[in-house]
Symmetry: C3
Subunit: 479 residues, 3 copies
């Protein structure tokens, strides 16, 4: 009994128990119970909003809307689809780089994202889209985008624990992650009225520290017993590039998806496009500079090239200016790649944080930078640059925020950053405790990063005499 | 002579003849003749419609259209591109799961889709877009989407016979499939005036039963001689997930692509998004529950997670309600996965239907469910829920359908379902007869699921003894 | 000294020197210097345009624009994202077909595209988007598309030298390529006032001859020493199909992305869709017809199926008519595939042009055909077909071009074609000279097409004793 409690609380591995990874009852039970709960809650709470209900014809007439083109669907649906691709293909394939964990990467990503978007529609709906006249949540395309955003934070967290947890643990991680996200987002966006179009703070900083804290709680002292599986093979690296590129290409849509109609979305897309372009060059440069013989490392190309998109998230719709976006990307490419080279090994060795995908370098640091850039850009906003109406529209200085100044806004942005950090770290530690319970079917230390634990894996043809010959030949050459 | 006729008519394998799979003359002949026919028919019949011709400037002025944004191109083009991705990457890669049939999967999918969309523009044009003033078919972006839809039914049918037919047979299958589709669609949508935004009936039910009937006609008693090739390898399963995910992500666009402008498209996208999310959880749950040690099976993840999208096709633009969509997805995930576990082996053994991709579980059953859901939802429609104008717009109770009631509409929806089934099964049996003719170059029973029959396959480094033996065997045969 | 100069000028391999492929200092230096230069130049020159600046609110009011939907962002952003996918995933993965150059294909494509779009924004901005009132370049979404287009020409050129150059050489190739492109484009589109919506001339013809000339200058007599790596393996061919399909599917967006709002974009998409469909059939037919046993060759399917999209580039927004598009596609499918079969070996043997990806067949010949088709279609334009206003709008017969006749326009189109050719060949020879300098770190003849030169390549499992141990271990467990 005591040992049981201990092993949940203390972040040291005192649970050297034999592992039972058979999730045959637990996984279906969790899926069925949670999906049933979703159906009931959706039945009680969720309805179509005025732009997606058949009353749109009347609504249009009543509000003097001349054209169906004014339906929010047409402003946001193309961006929504891009974001959707990022969530399912982008994150899913980015994590396929491990030689024998591609099924888990893309499959569990699929599972938790599909669950997460439903729970997110409810949680975010209660905070943002509740129609007080009838107590229902009214959803439209913007809610779908926000649900995808919300899930992104949990997928980021998944990156830290990739290969070391069971699908049941991931479902728990997602349930709590979405819940925490919705509260944190409400505090940052509604109470503090900070702006965060691309979610540097609410998505990336929160998600990354949430995942890192969980990984710290689930520290595995003997993880090197799985080291034979903790690398990539040639084709798994190419698969991962599919994820990288779809994330990279559609990031402008991510940062502009819920920005203001018109110039807001337009500017967010341009800023993100530029920051990402700049990041690619410095990430490649650092990768080559710090490697023996100047050879590029696919880990850096797959991840650090995306850091610029994270870091312009908050400021994407501000007047960051094109050169400002390039500078942000420039710095993040350097910092993120250096993080992979120096910081990740340090964290694993000294801080006991095992971060499979290096989310600290891709999401945590760039996310914090993004929050800071956002605060500075907001504080530096002036009427000549934005125009008086543009300033109000961009920062939402309306209703009971109409007397806020840009300098104050900068302060609130910084406060939002702190909230995201606290929720990420605090929430991660608590959820990590829960995930330490020996009931979730997680794999043993010598069986991590291995699809065979949770998947029927086909027997491969590969490994013919010819290949063996070829490989040994190569091997000799290397010596 | 008698044997020749027999072997076309009777669905038993009395044609144990040596096979000639050299399509060197037949495939080019079919391609050139049909493409030339397309050019001639397009020259006679196909013109730009008023929104894609340069007279748009005048048309806009004459119809008091204030903005280019009212051009249908901007309402539908993003959805069109998503559908296009589903047809070529989605269906193509979904079928790459076999260890040695990826070229055939993605390549023949490409071939028949490219032919099919041309023939579909003509066939559907004659029925739907003929301008009686000059006898020309006027095409715009909606026709392109419909052509893609039409082709989808043939690609579904391809799933049943994957690996067992020659490209020439596939071209024949497509020619007749498109033709039957256009007639069936005309009866269902125009004569019966059933609604079917996402094509649960006209696309999925028809396509699946068309393919299953053909597969029944082409039953191969000795298919187990190819069993060494009838499985996946690790990387081919990951490739197939590319197809799965692009289908899954873009299905909301599929179901909303030709829905009504405004709330119709908006609601169809939301319903599909929710149904698909729900399906993922129940498909994973059943997959784990019925497997030894609770290990997930990639076949289920690749296919059954999509069943919800099929099943909300018809009702996508109706007031299915968000929880209704979740329920549909919930049930379909269960039924589809159970189908893979129990029904597919049963059908192969007792009904002599060899269904390579399991389209019965992914398209046929969910398609029928979709038709039923559509009929019920339509019959249950009321004015308070839709609004009087919304009811008319959603169900098209206009012109000479203005006196139809929702209950009657439900009946016509059910009638449409039956038409789709009859065309699928009847058409499939007839076309199956034609495809049994021993002139199409189909592979022998011991050489199915093998790219080497129709493709120049690069020699891999990876070639296990099994494959080596097999290759030298092939080599000898070729000589 | 003399040898040094000689080896830069004469296209014969007199530089049998030992190669130093360590780019550890050169690549980072180039990246940092050029990225820093970009930041400075962006700081001086680049600003947001009126539709992406916060002054959009005022601009809208001043110009009586009633809705945010009129912002160019909504007309072009979906097409932009499709083009973006073509540049990074399309071109990147199309080149992954080599068995051991997938990292280089997709990685260097990523690097030079990310650099190129920045430099293109500047170069094209100076020529097209300079606001003379304040000397700033004002950018919006159309500039982003044009930058992607500009980069496409350099990626085409990369196809010719794939596997034979260092990343530093590619950066130089891109720097000069973008520069030449911008000048050439200015002459063709502004001075000659030729129309080229899809860039058959300015992008494809220029890019292809630029690349081929460079490849001619960098001729490697002993390239057959790398022949063991100059082929594909099964899975690399499937990866390449990802590139092919995304290029094929999104080509309608490519050709319509910067066409006129309304009917221009609409018609360009339809024409491209049809031309591409037609190409697939004839490419497959020729591939089968000229191969032993009628087996299809993946090289043709991967490349020649795209030729139709190249060839309707210029005429995409003209009244090419649907059957005209099919005819263009029909011919290009034949010509391009024949080119792979007969012309490429001839060029390598007799003209000393080593064209890794066969860009002569995919871009050069179809590009020239596209220019000719464009000239003929323009010259044949009449008022009854286009309408008087449509004719003016389609060909831009406004301002000081208002007296130009269609026949004259045809002549100018042809002149534009010649300009593209001259810039491509001339520029390529000059840049080829520069790239012959023995300072760029290019690989030796026996080490081409090899990722190990510039990348950390993971050791594959199919190999190490450890894995063998592991596999046999697993095997025993299963027993």
């Amino acid at each position: 009994k005591t040992a049981f409690i201990c092993c949940c609380i203390f972040p040291v591995d005192m649970c050297d128990r034999p592992k039972n990874t058979d999730v045959r009852l637990r996984l279906p039970a969790v899926c069925f119970i949670w999906q049933t709960a979703m159906i009931i809650l959706f039945g009680i709470f969720i309805r179509y909003d005025s732009e997606s209900s058949p009353y749109w014809v009347e609504y249009k007439r009543d509000h003097n809307i001349s054209s169906d083109a004014e339906n929010d669907f047409y402003f946001r649906y193309p961006s929504f689809q891009d974001v959707h691709v990022m969530i399912f293909v982008g994150f899913g394939f980015l994590m396929t780089f491990l030689k024998r964990y591609s099924f888990g990467a893309v499959g569990f990503n699929f599972l938790i994202a599909a669950f997460g978007i439903q729970w997110a529609l409810l949680m975010q709906g209660w905070f943002h889209s509740l129609d007080y006249s009838d107590g229902k949540i009214k959803i439209g395309v913007e809610n779908l985008i926000n649900a995808d955003f919300c899930v992104a934070s949990c997928l980021i967290a998944y990156g830290a624990v990739l290969g070391k947890v069971s699908p049941v643990q991931l479902m728990v991680l997602t349930l709590f992650g979405i819940t925490l996200f919705a509260v944190e987002e409400y505090i940052i966006l509604e109470l503090l009225h900070a702006r965060d179009a691309g979610g540097s703070m609410v998505i990336h900083t929160f998600g990354a520290y949430y995942g890192l804290s969980i990984s710290w709680m689930l520290y595995r002292r003997n993880l090197d017993q799985s080291s034979r599986l903790q690398g990539s093979v040639y084709h798994s690296d190419v698969f991962a590039m599919i994820g990288t590129l779809f994330l990279w290409m559609f990031w402008p849509s991510f940062n502009s998806a819920i920005a203001n109609h018109g110039d807001g979305q337009h500017r967010a897309a341009i800023n993100t496009y530029l920051a990402l372009a700049s990041t690619v060059l410095t990430a490649m440069a650092i990768s080559s500079l710090f490697q023996k013989h100047g050879k590029l490392d696919m880990v850096h190309i797959q991840n650090s090239t995306l850091a610029g998109g994270v870091a312009v998230g908050t400021a994407a719709e501000f007047m960051l200016m094109p050169y400002g976006s390039l500078i942000v990307g420039f710095c993040c490419g350097i910092i993120s790649t250096m993080g992979y080279i120096y910081l990740s090994p340090f964290m694993e060795k000294h801080l006991k944080i095992q971060d499979t995908c290096g989310i600290h370098n891709l999401h945590a640091m760039p996310g914090v930078i993004g929050g800071i850039v956002g605060a500075i850009t907001a504080a530096a906003a002036t009427e000549p640059v934005y125009g008086s109406e543009g300033l109000i529209k961009t920062f939402g200085f309306e209703d009971h925020f109409e007397h806020r100044t840009p300098a104050e806004q900068g302060g609130y942005q910084a406060a939002g950053m702190c909230v995201a950090l606290c929720f990420g770290i605090g929430g991660g530690i608590i959820v990590g405790c829960i995930l330490r319970l020996p009931i979730w079917g997680d794999p043993a230390d010598d069986n991590c990063f291995n699809d065979e634990v949770y998947w029927e894996v086909p027997e491969d043809e590969e490994s013919s005499p010819q290949v063996l010959y070829y490989n040994s030949h190569m091997h000799n050459k290397d010596m």
